[in-house]
């Protein structure tokens, strides 16, 4: 079968599953008893195995198969999670990652059989069996069959989590001396129409009794959302053998096993219900009697509905569609066009001055729709940074082992959203900063003890939105940057002279770390190598029109702050007039708009400032910046737009206010890039081009 067309999907999903496994195993390490985790891991491994098998990647399939076996035993309680096991599992994930990369590059999985890993997994399996043979009588048998043919645990019905109503139904049936059986049906591996076979089994069994529960749910079975077996709980007057025979009569069924269901053995069985039982029972009997005739009619319906009610064991899967980013780009462009057209209409209607209210209403409606449409399209492009940062805990764990330092990564704000293109790019710089923190930032255990710090170092990754920016901070409680060492290194490398260095403020010295040549320096005492590739970090972030900053205190740690724009192609802006020309200023950076009398302007160091509510704010006369003549006389009050960047503020003096408008940012092209404070242009409703002032660059 030609599967190349599915390769992309396969890779995407493999990525997801691997990531999921990484996260879950990491959690498992700290909480080995967590059943949810184990189930989740089992499922991910299982899906991986299935996918690899379908695509014909045998080695990958073998490895995942053995991993799955281990998880299956863990799930059955036959093996306890141990640190060594976690290590082996992580190695397996790395091996799978390697397969994946091979496939990505050559669409072949490579020739590495990873026999040592498979052996390690089997050792775990064998250990588990010898150590906990009493945990469950069938365990060895089930493990054996798992290893051989892939048929899994025979008493699967005991894994079904019944909800209360189902338990009641079962109890009721038992009272009426009906037999309650658990049936496990295994479909032949070669079977093509699994769903059809399963349907026939359902039908055959229903002739002999009533199916009250099925796992996976009847709906899922119908949609072929099961691997090769499914489990039924059947109420029947017939003997077990007859039911099994009925099920086996369907062709392409490999194996049907069954047994009498004992509620005590099932997963969700609570003994405390026993006490509540007598009270409930009376009500139930009444209810049952009434319900009885109906139930007979609705056999199939009940079978289909009942499983839906049971607490979903599966994670809620988001219904998603994978879309090529280029399609989104073109969608975005269309929305931009639409907004420009809408602006033209608005302009035309306001010129008209006619009292055509119906027309105006429609325009307002259109405005509403385009704004919402734009927001939705923007949101489609936004993805949480989680997809990038989620791999960091694993990385820190590995680093911790490798460097033999105890450390923990604390992350907040993983849900912060950024444009997809930015998220794709931000991973490497962040990884770099984290490595830096782990390797060079955090001190060795002895030094930490001397400094009275806890033995375990902490690294923080915080992301949050700040106005039109997203800020990502990487912080550690380690050594901090040794400014003297950096200074000496810089002098040594002839980046600065000794004199210059002596006069440089600390901040500037730290910024030397971002210089390209600086990175290759090998030994800077105990901050050795600090700066390796920091120039790459900086240039990467700047290519995303972001900034990176570092603050550090010797002995207490450092904070790296990355500030990124939300990359909104469409923004809300304030339209102003300066010297007869129209300009747009992003609303995000504007604090207030003030009316200032010329008398209130004071001079500080020969620069104009105003005092506003206790703050001294420098004035920037845009007519000077933009080389135009003001249209206002000097005696008039000034219109001042107060803008803010970080903790810096400035007042931009303009001639006239037009108002707020939604604008589409267009690039000025490569010809006009010298202009630092013009961040782009936009097309106004009348077709004219207005430039966008970058208030940040003016500050």
């Amino acid at each position: 079968m030609d599967v190349s067309q599915y390769l992309e999907i396969f890779l995407d999903e493999t990525n997801e599953h691997l990531q999921n496994l990484n996260t879950q195993i990491l959690e498992l390490e700290s909480d080995p008893e967590n059943m949810d985790n184990i189930n989740e891991i089992f499922r991910a491994a299982h899906s991986l195995k299935g996918m690899a098998g379908t695509m014909g990647y045998k080695r990958m399939q073998n490895l995942t198969h053995d991993m799955e076996n281990v998880f299956s035993e863990v799930r059955n309680g036959n093996i306890k999670v141990k640190p060594e096991m976690i290590d082996v599992l992580f190695q397996c994930l790395d091996a799978l990652e390697e397969y994946k990369n091979n496939i990505q590059e050559t669409s072949d999985e490579g020739t590495n059989d990873n026999e040592n890993l498979i052996k390690a997994l089997n050792d775990i399996l064998n250990d588990g069996k010898t150590e906990a043979p009493a945990a469950k009588e069938e365990a060895p048998a089930s493990a054996a069959s798992t290893a051989e043919g892939g048929t899994e645990g025979t008493e699967k019905w005991n894994d079904i989590a019944f909800d209360d109503s189902q338990i009641r139904v079962i109890r009721e049936a038992m009272k009426q001396s009906k037999n309650v059986y658990g049936i496990n049906v295994v479909v032949q591996e070669t079977c093509i129409l699994k769903a059809a076979r399963a349907f026939l089994v359902f039908k055959a069994v229903e002739e002999k009794g009533e199916i009250i529960v099925s796992m996976p749910s009847a709906q899922d079975v119908e949609d072929e959302k099961f691997d090769k077996d499914f489990t039924l709980i059947v109420l029947s007057d017939y003997s077990l053998d007859e039911i099994i025979k009925a099920a086996e009569s369907v062709s392409e069924i490999a194996q049907v096993t069954g047994g009498v269901l004992e509620l005590e053995k099932t997963k969700n069985y609570h003994s405390e219900e026993e006490t509540a039982e007598p009270v409930e029972e009376k009500k139930e009997v009444v209810a049952e009697v009434k319900a009885e005739p109906k139930r007979e009619e609705k056999k199939t319906a009940a079978a289909a509905k009942a499983p839906e009610k049971k607490p979903a064991n599966k994670p809620v899967v988001n219904r998603t569609v994978r879309v090529d980013i280029e399609k989104l780009d073109s969608l975005m462009n269309l929305v931009s066009e639409l907004i420009i057209a809408k602006n033209s209409l608005v302009a035309a209607s306001s010129n008209d001055q006619g009292n055509n209210t119906a027309f105006n209403e429609q325009i307002e409606y259109l405005e509403n729709v385009t704004t919402n449409l734009h927001e939705s399209v923007m949101k489609v492009r936004m993805v949480p940074i989680e997809s990038v940062v989620v791999k960091f805990p694993r990385m820190i764990r590995d680093l911790s082992k490798k460097l033999d330092k105890k450390m923990e990564l604390y992350m907040t704000g993983e849900e912060t959203e950024l444009d997809r293109t930015v998220v794709d790019e931000i991973g490497d710089p962040l990884m770099h900063l984290l490595r830096n923190s782990a390797d060079h930032g955090l001190e060795s255990a002895e030094v930490r003890a001397q400094r009275g710090k806890p033995e375990q170092g902490s690294i923080f990754l915080d992301a949050y939105q700040d106005g039109n920016n997203v800020v990502i901070e990487v912080r550690d409680d380690g050594n901090g940057i040794d400014v003297e060492a950096v200074k000496n290194k810089a002098i040594e490398r002839n980046l600065v002279t000794a004199e210059q260095a002596a006069n440089m403020p600390e901040k500037d010295i730290i910024n030397l770390l971002f210089l390209p040549g600086f990175s290759t320096s090998e030994k800077v005492t105990d901050v050795s190598g600090r700066g390796v590739g920091l120039d790459v970090v900086k240039s990467k972030i700047e290519s995303l029109s972001g900034e990176v900053e570092v603050k550090s205190k010797w002995g207490e740690g450092s904070t790296w702050t990355i500030r990124l724009p939300l990359t909104l192609a469409i923004i809300q802006a304030l339209m102003v007039v300066v010297g007869g020309e129209k300009y747009a200023i992003s609303l995000g950076s504007i604090q207030t708009i003030e009316d200032i009398s010329p008398k209130d302007i004071k001079l500080v160091e020969n620069k104009e400032v105003i005092e506003l509510r206790g703050t001294v704010i420098p004035l920037i006369r845009l007519i000077e910046v933009l080389d135009v003549e003001s249209t206002r006389s000097p005696e008039d009050n000034l219109i001042v737009v107060i803008v803010k960047k970080g903790d810096k503020m400035a007042g931009l003096v303009i001639d006239e206010l037009i108002g707020q408008q939604e604008i589409v940012i267009k690039s000025l092209g490569k010809y006009i890039k010298q202009c630092k404070f013009i961040s782009g242009a936009t097309i106004l409703g009348d077709g004219e081009v207005a430039l966008i002032l970058d208030a940040n660059a003016l500050l």
Partner: protein, 163 residues
């Protein structure tokens, strides 16, 4: 006999064709002079329209225009070539040149006249040693119907900014 000679001339013609290539040029007027622009680089010719000035750029960059939703920079060919400033008339046009590397750019010309086809034999390459600035914008001179057409070197016009 005649047929044969015909065939021979055809053959000869074919051979000559390999040497002689034909290019189409759009002839524009700048002051009193005529210039030719290789048609392969022309995306569009539009009428003069409002140009939004961009501050802090060289004088020959007149600003940006809106061409069907795209913002394009526009330069004055006159200023770039050291002539006096443009006088906007009804004949003034903006020629949009497509450029692989820098994106499109518009140039202002006094008038667009016609399209001519010139063979390599009709084009005289310019020698590079003439001192005048304007010469550096010209790759050669074409002869057409007894008139001279200076062929513009678009690369040196649009390539920036070392000046």
């Amino acid at each position: 006999m005649e047929e044969l000679s015909m065939r021979e001339t055809l053959k000869a013609g074919d051979e000559r064709k390999v040497e002689e290539e034909f290019f189409q040029y759009i002839v524009i007027r700048l002051g009193d002079e005529q210039y030719g622009i290789d048609i392969r680089y022309i995306d569009n010719i539009v009428r003069m329209q409002h140009i939004t000035r961009v501050p802090k750029v060289p004088a020959y960059l007149k600003g940006v225009i809106n061409l069907r939703g795209e913002v394009l920079p526009v330069m004055s060919l006159r200023l770039k070539m050291g002539l006096e400033a443009d006088e906007m008339t009804r004949a003034t046009r903006i020629i949009i040149l497509k450029q692989e590397q820098q994106g499109s750019v518009g140039i202002i010309v006094d008038e667009v006249k016609e399209v001519v086809t010139l063979g390599t034999s009709q084009i005289e390459k310019m020698s590079q040693n003439t001192g005048e600035i304007r010469k550096s914008f010209i790759t050669g001179v074409g002869k057409h119907n007894g008139e001279l057409i200076s062929l513009l070197d678009l690369n040196s016009i649009t390539l920036e900014e070392n000046a």
